[in-house]
C-alpha cells in the first residue's frame, strides 16, 4: 500500500485542525463560566475544558468517535438510541428509492434513445425537475402522501427516487448513444433490426456509463432519504437523529449521525463499485 502514507498524513492534519478549531470555538463558553465565578482560566485549564463539554459548539474528534461507537455498538440494535437501527431505517428507504429511481431512469433513457418525441419532451422536464430545491418539495410530497394514507418508507423512497433517476437518465442516454456510426452501419449490413442492435450493441456499450451514473445515483438516493426524514416529525432514521440532535443542542449526536451517514454512503458506493467491477470484468472491459 504505497498510497497509505499520504492518506494518513492528510488525515492527521485534518484531525489536528479539528482539535484546534474545537478549542477555539468552545473557549467562549469556558470563559463565560469562569467570568460568572469571578475567576480567570489559564491555557492549561482551558484546553481540557473545551474538549470535554456536554454540548460543545464543535465536538472534538474523540467525542464524535465515542458517540459514533456508542451509537453503533453500545446499544441493542433494536434500541431507539442505536445508530444501527436508524441507519437501517434510512438504508431501507434508500434502497427502495434507488431501485425505483434507477429503473425509471433506465426506462426513460431507452425511451429517449428510441423515440424522437420522448427525446424532445422528456429531457427538458427531467432537467427542470432537478432545478427545484429538494428541500422545498420534500415536505409537500410527505404531506400530500400522508393525507392520502401513504406513510412509512414509501414517501421517503419517492423523494429518494426523485433525486436518483436523473443521473441514471443522463448517463444511460449517453451510454446508449455511444456506439459510433460505423458500428451502427455494421449492424445494418448484417440486416439487424433495432431490437437486435439494442441488445447486442447499444446495451453492452452503455454499461460503463450506467455504472458511473449509478454511483452518483445511489449517493443522491441517500441524500434524498435523509432530506425526506427531516420533516416527518423525527421518528426514525439518520435524518431524524440530525433533527432531534439540533432541537436539543446535542451536537455530538448530530456529528455521530453525520458520520454514520457518511459511512453508509461510502459503503453503498463501494457496493456499486464492486458490482461494476464484476460486470465489466465478465464483459472483458475491466483491465
Amino acid at each position: 500500500m504505497r498510497n497509505l502514507g499520504p492518506i494518513l498524513v492528510v488525515l492527521a492534519a485534518i484531525v489536528a485542525l479539528w482539535y484546534l478549531a474545537a478549542v477555539w470555538m468552545n473557549a467562549a463558553w469556558v470563559h463565560d463560566q469562569a467570568a460568572r465565578d469571578g475567576r480567570a482560566v489559564t491555557l492549561a485549564e482551558l484546553v481540557p475544558l473545551t474538549l470535554t463539554q456536554e454540548r460543545p459548539v464543535l465536538p472534538a474528534p474523540h467525542q464524535v468517535a465515542k458517540g459514533l461507537y456508542d451509537g453503533l455498538f453500545g446499544q441493542k440494535v433494536t434500541s431507539k438510541r442505536s445508530l444501527v437501527y436508524h441507519a437501517w431505517v434510512t438504508l431501507s428507504a434508500t434502497g427502495l428509492g434507488f431501485v425505483i429511481g434507477s429503473a425509471a431512469g433506465m426506462l426513460l433513457a431507452v425511451g429517449i434513445v428510441f423515440n424522437r418525441a420522448m427525446d424532445l419532451s422528456v429531457m427538458p422536464w427531467a432537467i427542470a425537475s432537478q432545478t427545484i430545491p429538494i428541500l422545498a418539495i420534500a415536505p409537500m410530497i410527505i404531506v400530500v402522501l400522508n393525507s392520502t394514507g401513504v406513510t412509512g418508507i414509501v414517501p421517503k423512497a419517492i423523494i429518494s427516487a426523485y433525486l436518483s433517476f436523473f443521473p441514471v437518465v443522463v448517463g444511460m442516454v449517453k451510454g446508449l448513444r455511444s456506439p459510433d456510426a460505423m458500428q451502427l452501419d455494421l449492424m445494418r449490413t448484417w440486416n439487424a433490426g433495432a431490437l437486435t442492435s439494442f441488445a447486442k450493441l447499444r446495451l453492452p456499450s452503455s454499461m460503463p456509463y450506467l455504472f458511473a451514473s449509478l454511483k452518483v445515483g445511489i449517493a443522491a438516493s441517500l441524500v434524498g432519504t435523509i432530506v425526506g426524514e427531516l420533516p416527518t416529525g423525527a421518528v426514525a432514521g439518520l435524518g431524524s437523529r440530525l433533527l432531534s440532535g439540533s432541537y436539543y443542542g446535542q451536537t455530538v449526536q448530530i456529528w455521530a449521525a453525520l458520520f454514520a451517514a457518511g459511512l453508509l454512503a461510502a459503503g453503498l458506493v463501494a457496493l456499486i463499485g464492486w458490482a461494476e467491477w464484476v460486470t465489466l470484468k465478465r464483459m472483458g472491459l475491466a483491465r
Binding site: 460505423m182 458500428q183 452501419d185 455494421l186 449492424m187 445494418r188 449490413t189 448484417w190 440486416n191 439487424a192 437486435t196 447486442k200 450493441l201 453492452p204 454499461m207 464483459m283 472483458g284 472491459l285 483491465r287
Partner: protein, 266 residues
C-alpha cells in the same frame, strides 16, 4: 445465386447512377452518371482523391446509401434485397471489434444475428480464423491484438457468413507499410482460395495495381469514373511483380487517369 439477365456473370451493375446529398450548404453531387459492371470473381479497386465518391459508391452497393438516379443491381436484385440475402460482407477502415467480446465472439456476432445454430457458429468461426491466419487467437480480446491482427479479425467477421461479395473501404489505410504489404499478399491468397468478388477502396496506386483485376479511377466534384483499367497481370502475383514492366505501365496509366481527372477541374 441468380445471374444477371443483361450481362452474364455480372454481380454488380451500375447504370447512370447519380447520388445527390442534400446538405445545409445545398446539394452535393457525390456521384454522377456512374456506369460500371463488376463480374463474378473480380477484384475491383476504386482509386481517386478524397471526396470523389469512392466510399459513397461502396455504400450504395451495400444499401447504406440510396442512389437518387439511375439503376444499381447486386446479383440481379436491388441492393436492399441483396442485403436481405446476406450478399456481402463489409470491412471498414477501423476494425470496429467490440471490446467486450473475444475475437471468436466478435466473429460469431453476425452469425448470432443471422440465426445460425451454435454448432455451425463454432465451426464457421474456426474456419474463418484459419483463413485469416488467426487460428488459436479466438479466446483473446481485441486489445490483446495488434492493429493488423484486429483488421484480419474484422475480415474474418465479414467472411463468416458466406457472402460472395466482400466490400472493403480503405481496410489497411491505418496500418504501416510493412503490415500492409503482408496483408495485401494474404488478401490475394484469400481471394484466390474463396473466389469472392471484392470491391476495394484505396488511396495507394501500388496497392490498387498489385491487388486488382480491374482498377476504377475516379475524380471529384462531381464524383465520377474517369477510367476503368482491366489488368493484364496474371492472377498469381508474387510481391516482386511490382518491379515488372507491365506493373509499372499500369501504375503509370492510373497516375495519368488521376492527373487528367484533376486537370479539368482547375
Amino acid at each position: 445465386m441468380r445471374d444477371n439477365a443483361a450481362v452474364p456473370g455480372a454481380v454488380i451493375e451500375a447504370r447512370g447512377l447519380d447520388l445527390v446529398f442534400q446538405t445545409a450548404d445545398g446539394p452535393v453531387q457525390a456521384l454522377k452518371d456512374v456506369n460500371l459492371t463488376i463480374n463474378k470473381g473480380d477484384f475491383v479497386s476504386f482509386i481517386g482523391p478524397s471526396g470523389c465518391g469512392k466510399t459513397t459508391f461502396l455504400r450504395c452497393i451495400a444499401a447504406l446509401e440510396h442512389a437518387t438516379g439511375g439503376s444499381l443491381t447486386v446479383n440481379g436484385m436491388t441492393p436492399d434485397e441483396a442485403r436481405m440475402r446476406r450478399a456481402y460482407g463489409y470491412v471498414f477502415q477501423a476494425a470496429g471489434l467490440y471490446p467486450w467480446r473475444s475475437i471468436a465472439g466478435n466473429i460469431r456476432l453476425p452469425l448470432e444475428i443471422m440465426g445460425f445454430s451454435k454448432a455451425e457458429q463454432a465451426e464457421r468461426v474456426e474456419r474463418v480464423l484459419a483463413l485469416v491466419d488467426l487460428a488459436g487467437f479466438g479466446k483473446k480480446f481485441p486489445w490483446q491484438l495488434s492493429g493488423g491482427m484486429q483488421q484480419r479479425a474484422s475480415i474474418a467477421r465479414a467472411l463468416a457468413f458466406d457472402a460472395d461479395i466482400l466490400l472493403m473501404d480503405e481496410p489497411f489505410g491505418a496500418l504501416d507499410e510493412i503490415v500492409r504489404d503482408r496483408l495485401n499478399e494474404e488478401l490475394l491468397k484469400l481471394w484466390a482460395r474463396t473466389g469472392k468478388t471484392i470491391g476495394f477502396v484505396t488511396h495507394s496506386i501500388p496497392e490498387a495495381v498489385y491487388l486488382s483485376t480491374k482498377i476504377v479511377v475516379m475524380s471529384p466534384r462531381p464524383g465520377r469514373i474517369t477510367d476503368v483499367i482491366d489488368s493484364p497481370l496474371p492472377r498469381e502475383r508474387p510481391l516482386d511483380i511490382r518491379d515488372s514492366r507491365e506493373f509499372i505501365e499500369i501504375a503509370h496509366r492510373v497516375r495519368e487517369g488521376l492527373r487528367a481527372g484533376h486537370g479539368d477541374e482547375v
